[in-house]
């Protein structure tokens, strides 16, 4: 049977019987069946005539007032479907605001009958279908979700959706529902570009697939990525001798320091030094007394310094630190002065910089870092050393060793620690040798220029071999491997180097560049080759490499005056190149199947669920097609496979599959996941079925993180226990503490409070407000996010949003608010990504959401404040009150506060004198007026822009008076707090369910309310109530059982 064909309806009951999860969960209670018709009748007998008589005059026709056409509600169904507007009707009737005073008024009894009817209808209808999962449409990821998901999928924050057009929002202001998220050919093109962009970041490693923070477009990119990883690895290793001496001191005085049971291992862990190297250092400095007595030279001196370290208590810790630094400096000096030195073997006709010769020199350095040069010691009987003159920097291709020798000879000339008693020379040499074996002259080399080891020039050539013009890299980190790294660290470092060559292909590229530029040393004239230009990959064939080797060996062997080590150096060099390249070929061949495994894992991760066997085969088949039919390389084919995965609706859409058809071969496991979750009420009229574990995991993670589920969540989905309320709640709590919860703080709060696009806000005249910089704008945007993030992670009371006396600032925002400077660490001075909590924010007229600069700024039209917009924002967004849209013609206010004769307060008072305007404006202007103490960019102020003193007093609806922010908050606490909570609950539920609310959600809202009150208003109680609700856990039964919602029907028409 064609799997895409719809299942005939008559089969459906049969299917139901056999799927344990797919039972009719909700039975229709009989009482409601009896009640509904009477409500229906009442509508026709009472309500319809009432609205016809009193409301139609304004609220019907082509342009109904406030865009409310009451004539369109011809039956109960229509009312139920659009309940929110009828809630508004209820509110207006109850408050006697409608019909307007100037119009004929109904009797009190008639008014009450309609009020009663709306309330009764609400109660009956909301309970009839309570818990209905509702129509949750399949939808593409929102732009924000796309970016966060790519970040969590690849491990790098690429943000490919930055080029996408802004997502439309649904009627509640959120951009995460299928009602508003649509797809178009233009957007599909952007999706393809985005997927390609992510693909450009892909890196193949010997073990799998990685993603680089930048696109891997060119060879220099391919160098940069692995080099940065290796250098970062080096820099993160504990190689400061002072830290080891200090750790040894802590161990020595462990009892006095209150840790009598400490071991070298625990001290090493506490001090963040290598547990392998600390005992080695310890053993040297803390020898048994009889051995110590016999020590001479640098070991004896170091041991004396060690013994002189003061015990704890008597002195400050920084005294010990300072002395440990002295010990380190002593070690570093000795090792610098006794480091081994090497020059390239001298070969007539070859420059010192010739790669085989230079590499030999580098190899000598690398393998003698733990040796001491005995020639650097002087007998006490010798005359004072003659300080050599320092030669100039050598020319190109010339040996730099003589200059380095002169430099170091000058450096050690005054070092009396190198003077040894002639009679005990052997004993001293042994001390220096042992000293060097423990303290290498360096642990690793990160940069190399032309005059290596002289690093006075050529800064920043990371891991470079120091060749002239030709690329090349050289590894020199044996002491780090041997002394500091444990086996795991060694493997990691070896792997990084192996990956370096795997990714950058540097040995081959070095050889090709070398071949075309320096093979002329033996093959042609001068330094540049005149040989034929080999084609394709022939340059790196063994034959070419070994041929060049033999030519070099022949040249070197021809002249007996040449350094006899040279032929060996040459053989080693070319053989090494050849072996490395042949080894890489093998590694690459072996890596291909691993990449395919990684590709399947990537798909599984991207689809947020396991793959079926057919899907796995399909992905591999596509790869093979690309290789064989399209003739792509392995890497290109993997890259395109990744692009196709990212373009697949399985990735970029969130859809919950129809269990009737989705249960194919994997039915056994799916059926398990479909098992009926505990605790579900069974009194619903609408049928539905539980989401699978994976679907639930995604729903949870996109709710709390705006991103894909992590491995732990998917693990519970796989185990089939995610629907268990205890597991679900534990996961929700864990996720709220995770840093990814910033996704919710940004997306939910940003859309709820309407500041999500503030990062692009251009409404401020920067010439008039020069302190409004890009940094300040970003800080303003971040403030509420940081505030909410803190509330989520620490499970604070949601009332802190209103009454919290604290806020969060970074340096630029603190300055804007006139708060003390943000202090950073001494090591890391405060930057604009340093955010601190300010506990006494009220001293600066801040604290909680309302006085945050972002809201005050986004609701100001540039050169003046807007009490109208600010008040409207507060009433509509924070208090959740529905305000009808204004009439088409509204009076304009002056644009620049400093150029108007009247204070804005007085102008608004005139405005409200017009009863048409007053009906709505009386409800919100006053709140904005109370914020007049804040200027157009949210700055606290005592005067307006024309220099008039600020008056922030307000008379609130109901007649109470207040002044400024405190007055607003006191009024809200007294009169509107429940409205705020109710609004928050509704918005959060819309956001969580990715759909508009239904009347049948009302009982859940009530439950959220009760639980919130019982749990001290903690945010987690809202989340826990939502995620354990039937709405969240279930999916409406698909297909013809339910009538499609009107907007979906419209959409279908459009598409068809």
């Amino acid at each position: 049977m064609d799997p895409s064909a719809p299942i005939p309806r008559r089969y459906f009951p049969h299917v139901l019987r056999f799927l344990p999860g797919f039972i009719a969960l909700w039975a229709l209670p009989s009482v409601e069946a009896a009640t509904s018709p009477s409500i229906e009748q009442q509508f026709a007998q009472t309500v319809r005539p009432f609205v016809t008589q009193y409301c139609f005059a304004c609220h019907s026709g082509a342009t109904p007032t406030a865009q409310l056409d009451l004539k369109s509600y011809s039956n109960l169904d229509a009312v139920v479907r659009d309940y929110p507007r009828w809630a508004m009707v209820l509110e207006k009737l109850s408050a006697q605001e409608m019909p307007p005073k100037a119009m004929p008024q109904p009797s009190a009894a008639d008014r009450q009958r309609v009020i009663d009817w709306i309330q009764a209808m609400r109660s009956i209808e909301s309970h009839k279908n309570a818990g209905d999962p509702g129509p949750v449409l399949a939808r593409r990821l929102s732009n924000a979700e796309y970016d966060y998901t790519i970040r969590d999928l690849t491990g790098v924050d690429i943000r490919p959706a930055r080029e996408f057009p802004v997502d439309p929002a649904n009627t509640s202001g959120f951009d995460n529902s299928g009602e508003s998220l649509t797809m178009s050919p233009a957007l599909l093109k952007k999706y393809l570009q985005a997927a390609r962009e992510v693909g450009d970041h892909m890196v193949l490693t010997p073990d799998g697939i990685d993603f680089s923070p930048f696109p891997m477009l060119s060879e220099t990119d391919r160098d940069k990525y692995p080099i940065q990883r290796i250098v970062n690895f080096y820099f993160s290793q504990p190689t400061d001798f002072a830290d080891y001496f200090q750790a040894a001191w802590r161990y020595k005085y462990r009892a006095a320091l209150g840790k009598p049971k400490a071991t070298l291992a625990t001290v090493a862990a506490d001090s963040k030094v290598s547990p392998k190297y600390l005992p080695i250092v310890w053993q040297l400095i803390e020898e048994p007394a009889e051995k110590t007595k016999a020590e001479v030279g640098p070991i004896a001196k170091l041991q004396t310094m060690w013994r002189d370290l003061p015990p704890p208590g008597a002195s400050q810790p920084d005294v010990v630190r300072a002395k440990c630094i002295e010990m380190r400096d002593f070690v570093v000096k000795i090792r610098k002065d006794t480091a081994m030195q090497f020059a390239a073997p001298v070969v007539e006709g070859l420059p010192a910089g010739s790669q085989p010769l230079l590499n030999w020199k580098l190899q000598q350095f690398a393998s003698h870092r733990r040796d001491s040069d005995p020639n650097d010691l002087r007998n006490d009987t010798d005359p004072p050393p003659v300080v050599p003159e320092i030669p100039k920097y050598p020319g190109l291709h010339k040996e730099a060793a003589p200059r380095w020798a002169a430099l170091t000879a000058n450096g050690r000339a005054g070092d009396l620690d190198l003077v040894v008693p002639a009679a005990q020379r052997t004993l001293y040499e042994a001390s220096f040798a042992r000293f060097a074996s423990i303290f290498p002259d360096t642990f690793y080399v990160t940069e190399r220029g032309r005059y290596f080891p002289d690093d006075s020039e050529d800064k920043g050539r990371l891991l470079s071999a120091g060749f002239h013009s030709v690329m090349g890299f050289f590894r020199d980190d044996t002491p780090l491997r041997e002394l500091i790294l444990d086996e795991k660290g060694q493997k990691q470092l070896d792997r990084l180097w192996q990956e370096f060559d795997f990714i950058a292909d540097f040995t081959a590229r070095t050889f090709v560049q070398y071949f075309f530029n320096q093979s002329g040393e033996v093959l042609g004239k001068g330094a540049e080759a005149a040989s034929p230009r080999p084609a394709d990959h022939a340059v790196t064939d063994s034959q070419v490499i070994l041929g060049l080797r033999d030519a070099y060996v022949a040249l070197t062997s021809a002249d007996p005056t040449n350094d006899p080590v040279a032929p060996q150096a040459i053989r080693e060099h070319f053989d090494h190149v050849n072996e490395t390249l042949r080894g890489l070929e093998k590694t690459r061949a072996e890596a291909e199947p691993k990449h395919l495994d990684a590709l399947l894992k990537f798909a599984e991760h991207a689809y947020r669920r396991p793959l079926s066997q057919a899907e796995r085969e399909d992905i591999l088949a596509y790869y093979r097609t690309l290789r064989e039919k399209t003739a792509l390389s392995h890497e290109e084919a993997i890259r395109d496979s990744i692009v196709s995965i990212l373009m697949s609706p399985d990735f970029c859409y969130r859809l919950d599959l129809d269990p009737r058809t989705a249960l194919g071969k994997g039915a056994a496991t799916s059926a398990k996941a479909l098992a009926k979750p505990a605790g579900l009420r069974t009194t619903y009229a609408v049928t539905g079925h539980p989401l699978t574990g994976y679907e639930l995991a995604s729903r949870l993670s996109y709710f709390l993180w705006s991103s894909m589920p992590d491995q732990e969540l998917l693990g519970h989905a796989a185990a089939g226990d995610l629907q268990r309320p205890d597991v679900l709640i534990a996961q929700a709590r864990r996720m709220l503490k995770d840093p990814r919860v910033r996704g919710m703080a940004t997306e939910f709060t940003g859309n709820w409070l309407d500041f999500r696009r503030f990062e692009q806000h251009n409404g401020v005249d920067r010439e008039r407000f020069p302190n409004f910089t890009g940094d300040l704008r970003e800080a303003m945007f971040q403030e509420p996010i940081r505030f909410v993030e803190d509330m989520l992670q620490n499970d604070r009371s949601v009332l802190d949003l209103l009454y919290g006396k604290y806020t969060f600032v970074n340096p630029v925002l603190a300055k804007h608010y006139g708060m003390p400077e943000v202090q950073g660490d001494p090591a890391a001075p405060a930057k604009n990504d340093t955010w601190v909590r300010v506990d006494d924010a009220t001293r600066y007229q801040r604290g909680g959401l309302l006085p945050m600069a972002v809201f005050l700024t986004v609701n100001s039209p540039g050169l003046r404040t807007s009490p109208v917009k600010r008040g409207y924002w507060l009433v509509r967004r924070v208090l959740g009150q529905v305000i009808p849209p204004p009439p088409p013609v509204v009076p304009e206010l002056p644009q620049d506060e400093s150029k108007s004769d009247l204070p804005i307060r007085a102008m608004l008072a005139q405005h409200r004198a017009n009863p048409m305007c007053a009906a709505c404006h009386a409800r919100f202007d006053v709140f904005g007026l109370a914020f007049e103490g804040y200027g157009p960019v949210g700055e606290a102020r005592a005067q307006d822009l024309a220099g008039r003193p600020i008056d922030a007093k307000a008379v609130f609806p109901g007649g109470s008076e207040g002044d400024g922010l405190d007055g607003v908050l006191a009024y809200i606490r007294e009169n509107r707090q429940n409205q705020f909570l109710d609004g928050l609950e509704r918005k959060l539920l819309v956001y969580a369910l990715s759909r508009s609310l239904l009347l049948s959600d009302e009982p859940l809202i009530e439950r959220m309310q009760t639980r919130l009150a019982a749990k001290n208003n903690r945010f987690s109680s809202l989340v826990e109530t939502i995620v354990t609700s039937p709405q969240f856990l279930n999916q409406r039964n698909p297909g013809p059982i339910e009538k499609p919602a009107p907007q979906t029907a419209a959409l279908q028409r459009k598409v068809n």
Partner: protein
């Protein structure tokens, strides 16, 4: 052209590939018809821009032009352009200030086409080059936004100035962080032009996605199906555009045949690097010519020899390698090297001039820019640059002139001013580019 014929079996299979794949179309999709294929198209033709680069400067004793039009006198090095002199401009005295004072070679080349400040050490950073600025805009309408070619192998080590050799080996930069990898193999350059691999690959991805969405469509509820249909519709819509593009291409080929005006044709070059640089350079010029003629792209750059080139010129009887020879740039030998490079410009310009387009030729609708990063190799002097243009850029650029800016003052002889002027004519109006905010006068 002295080049061996490809093995016939290879040729047949290659043609088979071309028949099937050459009609495919790259993203982003072309919204309008290619002008030359449609008799009803307006009389404006696409403008094209190409850069030809020679490394290490010229022989300044033999580089000059005087007079204008048919009376223009060209020096020895410029003599290959003699037959075309009414269609060229020789511009003297421009320079790139950002490329002076930072040492020799890589810093002199790294910002040649961008005027950017470049960075030393391991992290490479330059600026978006003028050809890529143009490609970003006009490349939207063609199969490839640009082609970036070289006859010289790139290097990525360090020069003694501590600048990466990558700066010496590339002139085209798509982003400040990475140069565009150069294509040195003529065969692969040809393939990328005509096989449209990028487009084919995207089509393959879309096909697959369509299949998947169709399968899924049967597994979701009817409401969700509507959402998926939206997705499928988008994919199909995109495919439809590709289909109509295919028809446009077929139609334009057909029209060319009817008018008995066979397009310049070219066989796929053999795999591998041509051993002789002369063959190599000509193949690369042929590729640019056919790309411009067929409107596969409107932007090209070609490094004939790179900065610090190690290439040899046995056919010019020069024993030193290119870079060594440039240190003695007053030599006859080096003059021959420079003249060889200029003759590639002459070859490409002549080829384009033989392709009728409207009342003129493809050359008339193009601007070929020949330059080097140095004036005097032995002094590493880049305080003025050798610069020759060929082509009239669709009548917007007067030709047959020798323009000298050397004594106009540093503010009035910026390469970036020149780039602004060229970009204006290509329809890219910028307030600033590199170090310039004014256009080049008199151009």
């Amino acid at each position: 052209m002295p080049r061996s014929t490809p093995d016939p079996s290879t040729r047949i299979s290659r043609r088979a590939v071309l028949r099937g794949a050459g009609v495919a179309v790259a993203l982003p999709w072309l919204e309008s018809l290619p002008a030359f294929g449609d008799p009803t198209a307006p009389a404006t033709f696409p403008k094209r821009f190409a850069v030809l680069f020679q490394g290490n400067g010229i022989n300044e004793n033999h580089w000059s032009a005087e007079g204008s039009g048919a009376d223009m006198k060209l020096s020895k090095t410029l003599s290959p352009l003699e037959p075309l002199k009414h269609k060229i401009n020789v511009i003297d005295g421009l320079f790139n200030k950002a490329a002076t004072g930072h040492g020799i070679h890589p810093p002199q080349t790294g910002s040649l086409l961008s005027g950017a400040e470049i960075q030393k050490g391991a992290i490479i950073r330059s600026g978006v080059s003028v050809d890529q600025m143009i490609a970003n805009t006009v490349g939207q309408d063609t199969a490839l936004s640009s082609i970036v070619l070289a006859c010289d192998q790139p290097m990525t080590g360090y020069h003694e100035t501590n600048y990466s050799m990558a700066y010496s080996s590339h002139i085209s930069w798509q982003t400040p962080d990475s140069p565009i990898p150069v294509e040195v193999y003529p065969s692969l350059a040809f393939d990328s032009l005509f096989e449209n691999r990028g487009a084919l690959r995207n089509i393959s991805v879309l096909d697959r996605v369509k299949d998947r969405a169709e399968t899924l469509s049967g597994k979701v509820s009817s409401d969700d199906k509507a959402k998926l249909d939206e997705y499928l519709t988008s994919v199909r819509e995109v495919e439809k555009r590709i289909e109509s593009m295919r028809k446009v291409k077929d139609k334009s080929d057909e029209l060319a045949k009817q008018k008995n005006r066979p397009a310049f044709t070219m066989d796929r070059p053999q795999n591998g690097l041509p051993e002789d640089l002369r063959d190599h350079a000509r193949l690369m010029c042929d590729i640019i010519a056919i790309a411009f003629q067929t409107d596969r792209t409107r932007v090209a750059s070609l490094i004939i020899s790179r900065d610090l080139s190690a290439m040899y010129y046995p056919f010019l009887e020069v024993s030193d390698g290119h870079h060594s020879a440039s240190h003695n740039n007053l030599s006859d030998a080096y003059e021959r090297i420079s003249r060889f490079h200029v003759s590639q410009l002459a070859y490409l310009a002549t080829k384009l001039d033989s392709m009728p387009e409207g009342d003129g030729t493809v050359l008339d609708n193009s601007c070929l820019m020949f330059l080097s990063e140095l004036w005097i190799g032995r002094l590493h002097d880049n305080t003025r640059l050798p610069l020759v243009l060929a082509g009239g850029l669709g009548g917007t650029l007067e030709t047959g002139r020798a323009l000298n800016y050397y004594k106009a003052g540093d503010e009035n002889r910026k390469m970036c001013s020149f780039y602004l002027s060229i970009m204006d004519r290509m329809g890219i109006k910028l307030d600033r580019f590199g170090d310039a905010s004014t256009r080049l006068e008199r151009l």
